[in-house]
């Protein structure tokens, strides 16, 4: 396979590969997230027994990593390519590792030319009540993918186990194009073949968002927004009756809109953190608040899917059994 010559070609090659493997090709989620894991297509979809295979690019915002477009490696916003395989294919010779290696071959990285290795790296996100075991995948000493078998998310055991593959696109592009500075990466080419650089596409945004992250954001406003998003999330999780006597025209528990509010809280927290507005002790408390929301969303989502009797699951007997189990434990 020829090496993709541009950043966007890299994205195209990987998505083409994974769609051919039966993944749903989703578009980036339209809210600020710190990592692809926070996308509801990962965080919520891996819950419960339903199968789910998808691929998407996750623009990932890390306000603390802002460097005004001056650092060759760090960005306020980088791009992950995220793949969820649930269940992960397990039958040799095409088990999940081999399928994954196929994706590297699709972008020209093979063991003939490169030292490809799976090096232990476990993953844990206390904020998402989640953990998994897996590897960072090395290509000549560089981490190209985070490969995780989810064990728990939102405090729930993930069964069947889902594999999460997260490719760091900028890093891979720098590697493939042999660039030392991310802003020199060729993003695309004009019809005449002249390059459009990553810097041309993103540098101004890096500069402005860095100023926003470190100087211009207003902690007072952000604190207020955090509170607002938090109460909005809780309100949606309580359902239209707000936990009170059902009103006419009440709506059901809305896990997905509630989770949007949770994501906004999380990003607002990251902004406050970058601004240095949160002390060490406060930090733990704020993270605890986000964790409680995420947990609430996971609970609500599973309840909703259980009430629908896990429609994506082929094994209907299992769907009935697990749905009943979930609904009765909740009732108890």
């Amino acid at each position: 396979m020829p090496v993709p010559s541009t950043f966007q070609d890299l994205i195209l090659k990987l998505t083409e590969y994974w769609t051919a493997q039966g993944c749903v090709f989703l578009q980036p989620y339209d809210l600020e997230v710190g990592a692809g894991t926070m996308n509801p297509s990962t965080f919520l979809r891996v819950l419960g027994p339903e199968p789910w295979n998808c691929v998407y690019v996750a623009p990932s915002r890390r306000p603390s990593d802002s460097r005004f477009g001056e650092n060759p490696n760090r960005l306020h916003q980088h791009h992950q390519l995220q793949v969820i395989l649930k269940p992960a294919p397990g039958d040799p010779p095409m088990d999940v590792q081999e399928v994954y290696l196929g994706s590297l071959a699709a972008i020209g990285l093979t063991a003939r030319d490169h030292d490809l290795r799976f090096v232990e790296d476990d993953w844990e996100s206390p904020t998402l009540n989640a953990w998994g075991l897996g590897w960072e995948v090395w290509c000549d000493g560089m981490e190209v993918t985070q490969f995780t078998y989810f064990q728990q998310v939102g405090g729930y055991d993930i069964k069947p186990v889902a594999a999460e593959l997260t490719y760091g696109l900028e890093r891979i592009a720098m590697y493939l194009q042999q660039k030392d500075n991310v802003f020199d990466v060729v993003y695309a080419r004009r019809p005449d073949g002249t390059p459009i650089s990553y810097g041309e596409v993103w540098k101004q945004a890096e500069f402005e968002f860095s100023h926003y992250s470190f100087h211009a954001s207003e902690p007072k406003t952000l604190f207020a927004l955090f509170d607002t998003y938090e109460s909005e999330c809780k309100r949606l999780l309580a359902g239209g009756s707000g936990g009170q006597v059902p009103l006419s025209g009440a709506w059901p528990v809305l896990a997905l809109p509630a989770f949007d509010q949770c994501l906004k809280c999380s990003h607002t927290f990251n902004l406050l953190d970058a601004r240095g507005a949160i002390s060490v002790t406060e930090r733990a408390r704020f993270l605890g608040r986000v964790r409680a929301l995420a947990k609430g969303c996971a609970d609500a989502y599973l309840q909703t899917r259980a009430r629908l009797v896990f429609p994506l699951l082929k094994d209907r007997a299992r769907a009935d059994r697990e749905a009943a189990q979930l609904l009765t434990t909740k009732a108890a």
């Binding site: 397990g90 490169h114 290795r117 799976f118 000549d140 000493g141 069947p160």
Partner: protein, 683 residues
């Protein structure tokens, strides 16, 4: 016949493989002995790579030997009634699978022999091997995969189980045991069928896998050394890295790469940390100095080394340029300016900020220094800066460099104090190097006693399973440091000094704190001394007090060497008797004053003992070795005394005099060891 078990997996955590091999070896040995497939502990050879753990056990029986076992049944009275066997007797016979006529009466009970025909090894091995695979991960963090309920550190993909030439069938998750192994993931991906366990190692070698861990380690080292030598470089010794790298490939191939010589302006520790910890590259030296090159061990021989080398180099280059940025940023301000920022870092909620901790370390160091032959002012200066590098960007990026960066950045201090800033973290591991001079040791001790007194003081002492502040390691570090430097200091005083500034913050009363910490130290000493003396001797010495750790260790050595003597047990017995008698007397409320001279009317045995005690007291008995020798010589006199003289007599004067004499003897041995702890009757 031989047995081969191979568990083929996805890439395992590097640190687990050596542990797993030990467990596998002992599990197999035990199970096979229990199953009577081997007569004695068998020879087990183990193999481990990132993708497999395996063992070969030699010389198994093809079938279990028949079993003949004598079993006792019900008593004779219950077994027969009027000459007829009872239900109990019939039940017993049935259980053994024999008839009543085969049973005998022995010692008043019904006795029979249970015979079991040995089963073929294959039958026994199926469940046995399945148990072994399940039990293997025991204490390792394990995972589930696919839809299975079982767990293992990484998914199991295949299992080879061969007894001689036959497959031992069993299943774990979706792996069904067979005879097919796999070679190198990339170099020999096709299954390799094995006919016999003896071919295992050579078949894998053919499949580009060096399965034997020691051999692969040697091959890794050799490849790295050979690669380094091509550029006149030598490896910077790092055995821990070699162990880890050995576990990251199935077949090692070495490459040399380079980086910008300008990056050598960074502290060598930083450059090495980047290479070793983050990239698992071996740093190399030229003419004894760190060179701008490295050796990396690859899992494959790539087609064009230049391409892959460029990759390795680019990763390191990006990391070093980050490090250079941090280094330059950090040095824009003096280390002193960072001290104030420690007030913003929480040490522990109830114990305040890191800044508070530093102020306490300063005071404690200043107090401790003169007691340890160090300068008080210097100790305070070191303590003041010892944690300041925690707010440096470099330490944020490489936490393992805390202390090292402090030394590098503390440019205002003289060299010995800069070294002490780094040394105050030593020893960094249980067996790590100790501070290089008393100055660093003083601050190291002050830091650890502050944590010990503080955390115990707020009632958060470590539990059996959790020790989040690393207090066990801290106490062990204290002991090693004090003993190494021979600091003669009082544990009790230091604890009191460390607790004093915490005052109102402490939830535990001072005497309880002392008691708990002394217990804690006794626990660490017990572990540390386990290979120096038997457990009872250690207990006896600990019981006599540990306030001065150096003295306590001397006493241990002395008592342990006394233990080698033939008359040790009589000595221990006699002193135990002295202590027991005195304890009894105290319980009964008898009183006696300290004896000064022998009473006029006393027996010969009493007189002799008096004379022996006086002789002993003339010796240099402050030296524990001298004291123990002398006390040993008292033993025959004491034994005689106990034979001839009644101590607990009704004559109050005589009793008081005799108790006083014993009391005086106890005064000499009790501070050395509590002999009542010595096991005088060997089990």
């Amino acid at each position: 016949m031989d047995l081969l078990l191979e568990i083929g997996t996805e890439e395992l955590p590097a640190g687990w493989v050596p542990v797993a091999l030990e467990t596998l070896s002992s599990l197999l040995a035990r199970e096979l002995m229990d199953a009577r497939l081997v007569a004695a502990a068998p020879a087990v050879r183990t193999f481990g790579t990132p993708r497999r753990i395996a063992a070969i056990v030699a010389n198994l029986s093809e079938r279990q030997p028949d079993l003949e076992e004598r079993v006792e049944g019900p008593p004779e009275q219950a077994a027969f009634s009027g000459g007829q066997p009872t239900r109990a007797a019939e039940g017993f016979a049935k259980k053994l699978g024999v008839s009543i006529a085969d049973l005998k009466i022995e010692g008043g009970r019904l006795v029979g022999v249970r015979r079991a025909t040995g089963r073929p090894a294959i039958e026994v091995l199926s469940p046995l091997l399945e148990r072994v695979v399940k039990a293997l991960p025991a204490r390792q963090k394990s995972m589930r995969w696919a839809d299975h309920d079982v767990s293992f550190p990484r998914p199991v993909r295949w299992i080879v189980a061969l007894a001689g030439t036959e497959v031992v069938p069993f299943r774990f998750a979706d792996a069904q045991s067979g005879r097919e192994t796999r070679g190198h993931r990339f170099r020999a991906p096709a299954p390799i069928a094995l006919t016999d366990p003896s071919h295992y190692e050579s078949a894998l070698l053919h499949g580009h896998v060096i399965a034997d861990l020691a051999k692969r380690r040697a091959a890794t080292l050799e490849a790295a050394q050979r690669a380094a030598a091509t550029e006149n470089l030598s490896l910077d010794d790092n055995l821990a890295l070699l162990d880890e790298v050995t576990q990251l490939t199935e077949e090692p191939h070495a490459l040399v790469g380079h980086f910008d010589a300008a990056d050598l302006a960074l502290p060598p520790e930083v450059v090495k940390s980047e290479m070793q910890k983050h990239q698992r590259y071996f740093p190399v030296k030229k003419d004894g100095k760190l060179a701008n090159a490295f050796v990396v061990i690859s899992n494959v021989p790539v087609a064009d080394p230049a391409l892959s080398r460029a990759g390795y180099e680019r990763v390191l280059k990006a990391r070093l340029s980050d490090a250079r940025f941090f280094f330059e940023e950090d040095r824009k301000q003096p280390l002193e300016a960072r001290v104030d920022r420690l007030d913003r870092i929480v040490f522990q909620q109830a114990l305040g900020s890191m800044g508070d901790k530093v102020r306490r370390i300063e005071t404690l160091s200043e107090w401790l220094a003169p007691r340890c032959g160090a300068d008080a002012k210097a100790a305070r200066a070191v303590a003041h800066l010892c944690k300041a590098d925690l707010t440096a960007a470099m330490v944020g990026e490489f936490p393992e460099l805390q202390g090292v960066m402090g030394r590098v950045y503390a440019t205002s201090l003289p060299d010995d104090q800069r070294q002490a800033v780094e040394d105050h973290y030593a020893p960094r591991t249980a067996e790590g190097a100790l501070p290089s001079a008393p100055l660093g040791a003083v601050v190291a001790l002050a830091d650890r006693f502050d944590s010990l007194a503080g955390i115990f003081g707020i009632g958060k002492e470590p539990s059996a399973s959790a020790d989040p502040f690393g207090l066990r390691r801290a106490a062990l570090a204290v002991i090693r440091t004090v003993l190494h430097f021979g600091f003669s200091i009082s544990l009790k005083e230091i604890i009191a000094q460390a607790a004093a500034p915490l005052g109102a913050q402490l939830a535990v009363k001072p005497d309880v704190l002392q008691e708990k910490l002394h217990d804690f130290f006794r626990g660490r000493l017990k572990a540390l001394w386990a290979d120096r003396a038997s457990a009872d001797v250690v207990d006896a010495v600990l019981e006599a007090g540990i306030d001065d750790l150096v003295a306590a260790q001397k006493r241990l050595t002395a008592v342990a060497s006394l233990q080698q003597r033939a008359d040790f047990l009589p000595i221990a017995e006699t002193f135990t008797r002295v202590s027991n008698l005195l304890a009894q007397a105290q319980e009964k409320g008898f009183s006696w004053t300290r004896a000064v001279a022998p009473p006029s009317k006393s027996s010969e045995a009493e007189q002799r003992l008096w004379a022996a005690v006086a002789e002993f007291e003339k010796s240099d008995h402050r030296q524990v070795e001298v004291a123990l020798l002398g006390l040993g010589k008292l033993q025959p006199h004491l034994a005689r005394f106990f034979e001839d003289v009644m101590v607990m007599v009704d004559d109050t004067d005589a009793r008081a005099q005799r108790l006083a004499l014993l009391g005086r003897i106890q005064e000499h041995f009790r501070p050395i060891a509590d002999f009542r702890r010595i096991q005088t009757k060997r089990a």
